[in-house]
Amino acid sequence: MFASLAGVLFDGFAYGMLLFLLSVGLSVTLGMMNFVNLAHCSFAMIGGYVAVTLVNSFGWPFLASLPIAFLAAALVSIVLERALYRRLYRATDLDQCLFTIGIVFISVAVAAYFYGTVQQPISTPPYLRGSVQLMGMSFAAYRLFLIVTALAIAALLVYALEYTRFGAQVRAAVDNQRMARGLGIDVDRAFAVTFALGGGLAGLGGALAIEMVGLDHAFAFTYLVYVLIVVAVGGLGSIGGSFAAAAVLGISDMAGKYYFPWLGAFLIYLVMVGILMWRPAGLFGKR
């Protein structure tokens, strides 16, 4: 019983870290510009497909494909931001939602066109395949790797946001965009960089997700709901909030699937609706 509980906690935490990578960029950009970007998971999908193509068609090692996945997703997101999204910052929630849902539809169709509708396989190096023995329990090596990566990225993000000049500008823009502009901060530039960073992290998350949850053309839709839950529950613009929300969501989803399989995703939605009704701005949200 204890071993299975620890196993569920471990798997759930690893899953939560995946959700954290997928959603942290959306949380910060949404907090900054109030831009409801439902196409965030499309960037994750780009990262995933780039990694799959590099590993399977060009024989790259898995680890080397990860930075490229990050860069590709970041590049696409910054191009989209400069070309299209910036025109809609003043539009209504509804317009932003519709526009980005349109982008999701397009990306899903494009993925299906080029890669078909099957699950994409990816081969990970042998040292990430087995399991690691720790204190009499075995942990899947890949999930350990995922957790370590996500923790390192979270630490890096917190450092960048709390202790650098750029981070201070981003925080100022999240707190009060007009005031930040008044102080001479180039909010548009800060936003573009943050957006690219967030898109890149989603791309990295998408590449890392393949081994654990798989990748198919509908990825952008399947994980959209999860990412939105993390953002809405964690509160906008809060890295710590996203981290906590992602961990809670990952663990409760795993536990739900393990202990109450007949409930399906019901439990997750119930938790989300409950938390939103209790605190509409999210657990850690300020507004």
């Binding site: 939602c97 519709l98 349109g102 899903v108 169709a109 066109y113 939105l228 906008l236 939103l276 701005a281």
Partner: protein, 321 residues
């Protein structure tokens, strides 16, 4: 006060173009008898879009989970018919009432939120109901859908035939009746108050309008209409599947309304006609590619036609005159 009531009276007058439109809806009976099933589907979708228009176009409540009420109506009508209550009109009424009650219950949650939280809550409530229906397979048939729905002839005279003649006539009459009700509502002082809330949610309570009560009322009315649309679908097709509650249905009706033009009674109707006819024409196409064009259309509408086709037309005509 005087001018306000005159403004309402001027709006409520029946225009010639509207009469032409409704006369055109009779055309399929003579011009395209092979497409009556499709026409009936269009009328049902149009009613669903009209119901979303009431809350989104007029009251400004963005919903990504409107299929919940459509589904409640469809399952109510389906279950009634399955258990031997196959009389369509009373089934329609009961379904509408039940969907309205569901809407009234959830409206207490809905009106307290705005922006992202509202979008997430409507999405969450819709998904919650979908999962509940999926789990309760003893009641809903789960993923297999509801089997054995038998509908009695309409008014004990008109059978629901294979060609859809009864189905279309029935759907069209119900759509027209619901349209008249909606038209009356939005041109009443209550409808004006709703538009006031949409434009400025803080100012309306400040001038003494009970804005939350208004929103609850219109949300319940919209839920009734959505439930009636769902019941129509269940009765005319004699099946109910989980799809009636799906996120896809909520998203589709939103696309339809935005495409036609929200906040203009005819927007949802026009959008439904265009969307359903196009989907029928391209039905040979892989659904994945169909959604590519829908996505492109959404992007284009938001960028270039912010008020939908009807909004664009109105602007074009205004500029000309």
């Amino acid at each position: 006060m005087e001018s306000a009531s005159r403004h309402l009276e001027a709006q409520i007058r029946w225009r010639r173009l509207e009469t032409v439109f409704w006369l055109c809806t009779l055309l399929p009976f003579v011009a395209a008898p092979a497409y009556l099933q499709l026409a009936s589907q269009i009328a049902i979708t149009a009613l669903f879009a009209l119901s979303l228009d009431l809350i989104l176009g007029y009251a400004g409540i963005v919903s990504l989970g409107h299929a919940a009420y459509f589904g409640v109506g469809a399952y109510t009508a389906g279950l009634l018919a399955k258990d031997g209550w196959g009389e369509p009109l009373s089934g329609l009424l009961i379904s509408g009432i039940l969907a309205g009650l569901t809407g009234y219950a959830t409206s207490h949650i809905i009106v307290r939120f705005r922006h992202l939280a509202l979008i997430m809550l409507t999405l969450g409530l819709g998904l919650l109901l979908y999962e509940a229906a999926n789990s309760a397979s003893w009641l809903t048939g789960g993923a297999d859908g509801l089997q054995g729905v038998r509908i009695r002839p309409l008014l004990e005279m008109f059978r629901f035939d294979l060609y859809g003649r009864t189905a279309y006539a029935y759907s069209l009459v119900v759509l027209f009746a619901c349209f008249l009700v909606s038209r009356r509502i939005i041109h009443s002082p209550f409808g004006l108050a709703l538009r006031g809330i949409r434009e400025n949610a803080l100012r309306m309570p400040a001038i003494g309008a009970p804005s939350r009560a208004h929103l609850r009322k219109v949300y319940s009315i919209a839920a009734i209409l959505a439930g009636v649309a769902g019941a129509l679908l269940a009765q005319t097709t004699e099946t109910v599947s989980l799809e009636v509650l799906s996120f896809g249905r909520s998203a589709d009706v939103l696309v339809i309304l935005i495409l036609g033009g929200a906040g203009r009674l005819y927007g949802g109707l026009l959008g439904a006609i265009l969307y359903m006819v196009a989907r029928d024409q391209f039905s040979g196409m892989n659904p994945q590619y169909w959604y590519f064009w829908i996505g492109l259309l959404l992007v284009a509408v938001v960028m270039f036609l912010p008020n939908g086709i009807l909004g664009g037309l109105a602007k074009f005509l205004q500029r000309k005159s």
